[in-house]
Amino acid sequence: MATFDFNIYNLVNSQAVPPDWPGGFWWHWLFFTVVIIGFVLTLVMGVIYIERRGMGRMQSRLGPNRTGPFGLLQPVADAVKVLLKENIVPTAADKLVHWLAPVIAFAPALMLFAVIPFENGALLADLNIGILYVVAISSVSTVGIFMAGWGSSNKYSLLGAMRNVAAIVSYEIPMVLAIAGVVLIAGSLSLNQIVMAQNVPFVLLQPLGFLLFFAAGCAEINRSPFDLMEADSEIVAGFHTEYSGMKFAMFYLVEYAEAVAISAIIATLFLGGWKGPILPPWLWFIIKIILVFFAMVWTRTTLPRIRIDQLMAFAWKFLFPMSLLNLFITALQVLAGWPTELAWVMVIVNIAVMVVMVFIWSKFFFRLGGGRLEA
């Protein structure tokens, strides 16, 4: 069970860090900072490529295939192009806020990786409140996004930013409640401990929690069908309409870094993180991240976008009660004493519970249109 002694310096001596690690805390810190930045930036390029090619495939076109073999260098070409673009700041913009926004939005996306284990014990800080840290940090980028919307002094941007804030405030709650189910089963808030606890991936023990977290996570990072903060067909590009050049690149990076981060968190919480047979753990971890990300690409290419009021209704009238129920049922199961040897029975029971609950709730209590019973 978690002991809530929060001391970041403990990790140097903690069991989680490989004992043969050279140097002390600062070397550890430097090494993992470099690893995280490298990892995130590389993976962002990877997922951009996967998204563009995958979407091309799904939309019966080719996708970028001119730069390098199979178009692999397309993200590099895009990066170079966007860096060479002129940096335009609107005359009426709040210059400081406009300048600061991409930075503030970008930092949390990287910071999220501090507590995500790449393999057993290989993480920047094995906080015993890791998941709380994730929840806290992941909503900070909203500040950056709202600053961007406000600082641009553009009406589209402001609309996008307002939508974003509304969405984050609503979706944080089902997200946390969905995580709570996992925490109850794992008995720890540390992400490393949660991975260690997954003899069976939690997606099987917490199928409903997984779906709820996936939906809320998509909404949190503006992925379709909740991408109405930057709905290109409505409000052009939302909060980053007025950004160009390097600052736009930052926002572009934020978008995908957050997507990677949420995928990584889902992989860690529900898919067994770095655990897996044969292949090295970090490779398993990357494979799982990409799988989750691919699911996001898939929804993006398939589903239309929902409206702002439907977005709120979906959060408060579907995800919120469902996550409460999920938490309740999980708590009952834990309280009754988890039968570890009967895990597969529980898997079947939980999947059945999920199907029945989602069916009943969506059939009788919630309709997306209007979000009201009578609608």
């Binding site: 409505e234 290419t301 589903l303 976008r305 409206r307 439907q310 309709r367 997306l368």
Partner: protein, 367 residues
């Protein structure tokens, strides 16, 4: 706690991803809610009506291509019908059939774009749009066979069509006709019953039948409101009275109905093409018409059911080689007049899809 808020004006367009060209909507918004909108157009004005007065009757055909540039063949046909009515020209049988086949293919192509763009406005990120472009591409290939062009076809002529169907046309058309129903089912499976699409489009932007008639709407917009009015049946032109087809109508007149309506109409067009293909007679494809047509003094109005609605050409002749006056009744412009009533009180996101469901082409609005 009362927060003092005030509506603000948002200029949507002329450069905006969802205004289907250079069209501007000055929207007054109260937060996300649309209080009022004012359409502003004229950004694509080229003076086509005036230009016609300096061209020969056959020389005007390429101009009509530039009206509703995604259904050029229908424009060609509407114009040629007007001149033929004015000059009393009889079109050969084979040309009539070719015209019907081409016009219905054009309807399918234009409605594919309309439906695809509407779903794109709903936020289905380009997937249905590109799927529909894939099929439109086949139709454009067919048009390229007959006219050599892929956008501005300039195929119809006064008294017929410019040339006969090439050899490879009929096999390609048959292949298309075999595959198309399957693809249509595929589109329907993709999004027709999608929960989000229904939530977004059902009950949104309702245009009642009475309102639709009052603002003189036509085409799918009118029929989606439950009014059974199709010029192919109501005032048959060309040889449409020989074919067996239905006029689908919907009931409520919301965005979803307009989308359904367009899908249904595509299926009916396939039926017409099928029949026309089977009955296609041999013979000449163009009547003996002098190069410079000189219709007698008089005036004529010819209309047809274009993919977007009633497209009419009003021509006045003074017995010279150019019309004295040519007025075009563009369905897009007239249908657009219903927009303001439809969007008031809805959200910004709805404004976009209601606008998208009307399906306009700015080339036709501004002329």
């Amino acid at each position: 706690m009362a927060v003092r808020t005030e509506p603000f004006v948002l200029n949507m367009g002329p450069v905006h991803p969802s205004t289907h060209g250079v069209f501007r909507m000055r929207a007054t918004l109260d937060g996300e809610v649309v209080v009022d909108i004012e359409p502003v157009f004229g950004y694509l004005h080229r003076g086509i009506e005036k230009l016609t007065e300096q061209r020969t009757y056959n020389g005007i055909v390429p101009l009509t291509d530039r009206l509703d540039y995604i259904s050029s063949m229908s424009n060609n046909l509407a114009y040629c019908l007007a001149v033929e009515k004015l000059a009393g020209i009889k079109v050969p049988e084979r040309a009539e059939y070719i015209r019907v086949i081409i016009a219905e293919l054009q309807r399918i192509a234009a409605l594919l774009i309309a439906v695809g763009a509407f779903l794109n406005d709903c936020g289905a990120y380009f997937t249905p749009f590109l799927y529909m472009f894939r099929e439109r591409e086949k139709i454009v290939d067919l048009f390229e066979m007959v006219s050599g062009q892929r956008l501005t076809y300039n195929y119809m002529r006064v008294g017929g069509v410019s040339q006969d169907l090439p050899e490879e046309f009929m096999p390609a058309l048959r292949k298309f006709m075999d595959k198309m129903p399957h693809y249509m089912d595929e589109y329907d499976q993709l999004l027709m019953q999608n929960e989000i699409l229904i939530a977004r489009a059902k009950g949104v932007g309702i245009l009642s039948g009475e309102q639709a008639i009052n603002c003189s709407a036509s085409g799918p917009v009118l029929r989606a409101s439950g009014v059974n009015w199709d010029i192919r049946k109501a005032d048959p032109y060309s040889i449409y009275d020989r074919f067996d087809f239905d006029i689908p109508t919907q009931t409520t007149g919301d965005c979803y109905d307009r989308y359904r309506q367009r899908v249904d109409e595509m299926r009916q067009s396939l039926r017409i093409i099928q029949q026309a293909m089977e009955q296609l007679p041999p013979g000449p494809v163009r009547a003996e018409v002098p190069h410079l047509v000189r219709p007698p003094v008089g005036e004529a109005y010819a209309r047809l059911e274009a993919p977007k609605g009633e497209l009419g050409f009003y021509l006045v002749s003074d017995n010279s080689i150019a019309p004295d006056r040519c007025h075009i009744r563009p369905p897009s412009l007239i249908n657009l007049t219903a927009l303001r009533d439809m969007v008031r009180g809805w959200k910004v996101a709805d404004l976009i899809i209601i606008f998208g469901s009307i399906d306009i082409t700015v080339g036709e609005i501004d002329r």
